[in-house]
């Protein structure tokens, strides 16, 4: 027999679950299923032979091999460069390390299209590193992936490293272990979960990178994600796209699962109650890691600096002409709007998407972290949690295209509705929001809530006085993340944006896909504007200092 207050609680949980579940069903499962059905059963019945034929195409295998190769190489390089940098920026007493941390994190918040533009301007024949001849090669793609993902490794490993209890290392040293032996036998095993967890996240981001590969690889170097885009938009080969989307889905789910297992190990690892070790004084023996960090810093700063400088150079002179061109795009180029109108559009959409992602993310986080009393309850929560990570596993392109083909008839004829873009972007931002909020909610000692309840506080008052005070900083951080993600979102938006009302990333892509100095110059200026916007948002987030923000 269930006591009445538990019945009320369960009804409340069900009501809370309904909103996000309905959203997920209509705006994620339906479009993705629609896309898969079109691909696997083009004539209404299942065509597995056709699907198999797609899989064995030479181009398909090439694309899959290229995606795997580039992702793995990018991940290995990112970890190799990120771990020493994490050590220097989180364990050594390096002057200005807070600024360096902010610099390293910057690329992660940048729209992928902008990162693509940066590397093109850096590696193009006329660029500072043009002599390397890397423009248009697969190495450019790998470098850009490393640039983009360094933040993940440095932050995840660095914050974990800083929180490790130094007494274990001290004990090993006191037992006679050399610094090298301490590192190999104590520090590295302790760090392993954090390194592997960050690696899994990086691999995921590398494998699903879209805007970056599209801008740098073009048609020559295609990953699964860009291939889906090309197949749907250029060749109208829905079957091919659906098969690739399915392949990607399986691979990414496997990756997410591995990442989740590793993330749990990071969260479960013992942390020092005293807040980790003090930072060490820089010594001569640190020269190797310091050199690596200097190289990484240069590597991160160079593309950013090049982008800014080149956006201000026109015909060998310093000039604002590229920025002025943003206001007259419609006259100068084939773009049907001005850069400022596109920025305004991006911002308005991002605000809507962020609100949506926050409301849904809060519902999901509260439900996922609630205290499950029964085994069934725990399983339900686990499934619920995983379901809202799914959008990470499905390419934004698939979602965007799925919207077009499934939400185009009554009762849900939204194709021309301006609400579609914020919805698609909210879907992309939702997993990030949940990942920021969940650790914060889990971090609250349940006995705080119990203490409040025994003092007579109702469940609502407990939430307001115990949960909310611990949640507002993560909520701000999630807001920043969602804004940055929405502002830079390109995969889904490229399908959904109306030609006369594009977002800024779409405008940038349109500009770089067309020849001409005016287009190229305006693309540089638009990229700077977009990068500055997201960086300002992220800097504000950094200001509120929310710790490690889960694993991101």
């Amino acid at each position: 027999m269930t006591p009445p207050h538990l019945v009320t609680r369960r009804l409340g949980a069900a009501a809370l679950a309904l909103l996000p579940l309905a959203f997920l069903a209509v705006f994620f499962l339906l479009p993705v299923a629609g896309m898969l059905v079109r691909g696997f059963a083009p004539d209404g019945h299942l065509d597995l032979a056709g699907a198999f034929e797609v899989l064995t195409r030479r181009r398909t295998l090439q694309v899959i091999a290229f995606t795997a190769g580039v992702s793995l190489l990018g991940t290995v390089l990112t970890v190799a460069l990120g771990v020493p940098t994490a050590y220097v920026l989180y364990r050594l007493d390096v002057p200005g390390r807070h600024w360096l941390r902010a610099l390293i994190v910057m690329p992660f918040a940048m729209p992928t299209v902008v990162v693509g533009v940066m590397f093109r301007s850096l590696l193009a024949p006329g660029g500072p590193l043009g002599f390397l001849g890397l423009d248009g090669t697969w190495m450019a793609v790998v470098l850009a992936l490393v640039f983009f993902n360094l933040a993940v490794v440095v932050r995840t490993v660095g914050t974990f490293w800083a929180s490790l209890d130094p007494r274990t290392e001290e004990a090993a040293a006191a037992l006679g272990a050399s610094p090298r032996r301490v590192f190999v036998t104590v520090t590295l095993p302790a760090l392993a979960p954090a390194i592997l967890s960050a690696g899994a996240v990086v691999l995921l981001f590398c494998a699903t990178a879209f805007g970056l590969v599209l801008t740098l690889g073009g048609l020559r170097y295609s990953t699964v994600e860009t291939e889906i885009y090309l197949l749907t938009t250029s060749f109208l080969d829905l079957q091919g796209a659906a098969v690739l989307a399915a392949v990607q889905f399986v691979a990414v789910i496997a990756l997410l699962w591995v990442g989740d297992v590793l993330r749990r190990r990071v969260e479960a690892a013992p942390r020092s109650a005293r807040g980790g070790a003090r930072t060490l004084k820089v010594r001569r023996r640190h020269w190797a890691v310091l050199t690596a960090t200097a190289a990484v810093t240069l590597f991160v700063a160079a593309p950013i600096a090049t982008l800014i400088v080149r956006s201000l150079r026109v015909g060998g002179h310093w000039s604002w002409a590229n920025y002025r061109a943003l206001g007259r795009l419609a006259d100068l180029t084939a773009v049907e709007t001005t850069g400022w109108a596109a920025l305004n559009m991006s911002w308005r959409i991002a605000v809507d998407a962020t609100l949506l992602a926050l409301v849904l993310g809060l519902c999901v986080a509260v439900l996922v972290t609630g205290h499950a009393r029964t085994a069934t309850g725990r399983v339900t929560r686990g499934v619920f949690d995983a379901a809202f990570m799914l959008p990470l596993g499905v390419s934004a392109v698939t979602v965007g295209f799925g919207f077009l083909i499934t939400l185009d008839r009554p009762p849900l004829d939204l194709r021309s509705s301006p609400i579609l873009i914020p919805i698609a972007q909210a879907l992309v931002a939702l997993p990030l929001v949940v990942r920021v909020l969940v650790p914060a909610l889990r971090g609250i000692d349940d006995r705080q809530r119990q203490a409040a309840a025994t003092l007579g506080a109702s469940p609502w008052r407990v939430w307001r006085t115990v949960d909310l005070p611990a949640l507002w900083r993560p909520l701000l951080a999630a807001t920043g993340f969602a804004l940055a993600v929405s502002l830079g979102e390109f995969g889904a938006t490229s399908f959904l944006a109306r030609p006369d009302q594009p977002t800024l990333p779409v405008v940038i892509y349109q500009l770089i896909s067309r020849p001409g100095a005016v287009n190229a110059g305006a693309a540089l200026a638009a990229s700077v504007v977009l990068a500055v916007t997201t960086s300002v948002v992220m800097t504000i987030v950094e200001r509120v200092r929310v710790g490690s923000l889960g694993t991101f």
């Binding site: 006591p3 705080q448 119990q450 203490a451 007579g456």
Partner: protein
């Protein structure tokens, strides 16, 4: 007024201003807390097994047991934080099944205080008051802080307080809610010894002064003896002994309870005999052991043992018993001497700190007859 407890005086309108009238309805006529046949299972493990407990208004009951015995689970079940699998928990005759935690009027104090870090001391203490921001509430906060010895701490942040101060604030916060029953979950265990002993005395005084009915869960028997006037000893989910603290102290129910309460000498009959020869009326005690043996209330064969605390076995030069000192350790209570007594074996005894005893030396022992206790073997509950 209720005569259920010794020397207690508690007005009947102490909680939330509701005046409790003498007529009772519901599952029992019991005033105060009444736990009957309570069971909590975690999977196949019975964390709380068939527990019966009563606590009259104004009383302070300590539930004492080693870690993992189920005492905290019992406390959480009373608070409504854990569901009972069977049995009832009632207060003032009203069954609490289905009453959520926040409507029970039982404030709970945790081991680490669990103060709300986002607000100051005053905000914490006022949390359970009906209108936390009112002037009356602020006055009440000041009064309570003064009561717990922290006058003027209103604007301090919890993080800036020492462990002992945090617990004092937590106590003030709990008292502010004028709970019908105060639940204390190992409230002093996280503190160092000096602080723990001082706070235990203060806690006792405050509970008596405010006439608060309280249930204290602890693994520390000193703490239980200081704070409570009744005691329930728990082992493996069951209450194995319940009674006034003095009685539990002097007459543990069996060998296990005695050892848990710090009785160091537990001697079976054949070893006890030699020791009893040196005690006044020792043969009468031996007769008592013979009578106890084999008269287990639940039947079956069991042994009788003699228990005596170290503090009741004194090393004196002219003691009637002679033995050899095996080891010496300086303790808070004096010089702890383990003595090998012929026919008995190792006996824990206490010497004056200034006594000149050396290992291997022959010493005399004197046993205080009032410190002797008869202890049956541990009862086999699985057979019950």
């Amino acid at each position: 007024m209720n005569g259920g407890n010794v020397g207690r005086n508690r007005s009947a309108e102490n909680h939330n201003g509701d005046i409790v009238v003498g007529t009772m309805d519901g599952v029992s006529g019991q005033r105060g807390l009444d736990v009957r046949g309570a069971n909590v299972r975690f999977g196949s493990k019975r964390a709380v097994a068939d527990v019966d407990l009563t606590l009259a208004p104004g009383g302070v009951l300590a539930v004492l047991g080693p870690s993992g015995c189920g005492k905290s689970t019992l406390l959480r079940a009373i608070a409504g934080l854990e569901e009972l699998d069977s049995g009832t928990i009632a207060f003032d005759g009203v069954d609490l099944a289905g009453v959520p935690t926040h409507r029970r009027g039982f404030a709970m104090m945790f081991q680490e205080g669990q103060l709300f870090g986002h607000t100051d001391v005053a905000g914490n203490v006022a949390y359970g008051l009906s209108r936390p921001r009112s002037a009356a509430a602020q006055a009440e906060v000041s009064r309570l802080l003064e009561l717990v010895g922290l006058a003027g701490y209103e604007r301090r942040r919890p993080a800036t307080l020492s462990g002992g101060e945090q617990q004092r604030v937590a106590l003030a916060r709990s008292l502010a809610a004028t709970p019908r029953l105060l639940l204390l979950d190992e409230p002093l265990s996280a503190l160092d010894r000096t602080m723990r002993e001082r706070l235990a005395t203060d806690l006792r005084r405050l509970l008596v002064e405010t006439g608060t009915t309280a249930l204290l869960v602890t693994h520390d028997h000193d703490e239980a003896f200081t704070v409570a006037d009744r005691m329930a000893v728990m082992r493996a989910g069951r209450v194995v002994q319940e009674g006034p603290t003095v009685q539990v102290w002097s007459h543990p129910a069996d060998v296990w309870v005695a050892r848990f309460l710090g009785v160091e000498n537990v001697l079976p009959r054949e070893r006890a005999q030699a020791l009893l020869r040196g005690v006044d009326h020792g043969d009468r005690v031996l007769d008592g052991m013979d009578r106890l043996e084999g008269t287990h209330p639940r039947g079956g064969i069991h042994g009788a043992n003699l228990g005596v605390r170290r503090s009741s076995v004194k090393v004196t030069p002219d003691g009637p018993l002679r033995g050899r000192a095996l080891s010496l350790v300086m303790g808070r209570d004096g010089l702890r001497v383990d003595v090998d007594l012929p026919g008995t074996g190792r006996v824990a005894a206490l010497a004056d700190p200034t006594a000149r005893v050396r290992v291997g030396q022959e010493v005399g022992l004197w046993v205080d007859p009032s410190g002797l206790m008869l202890l049956p073997d541990v009862r086999d509950f699985t057979a019950a």
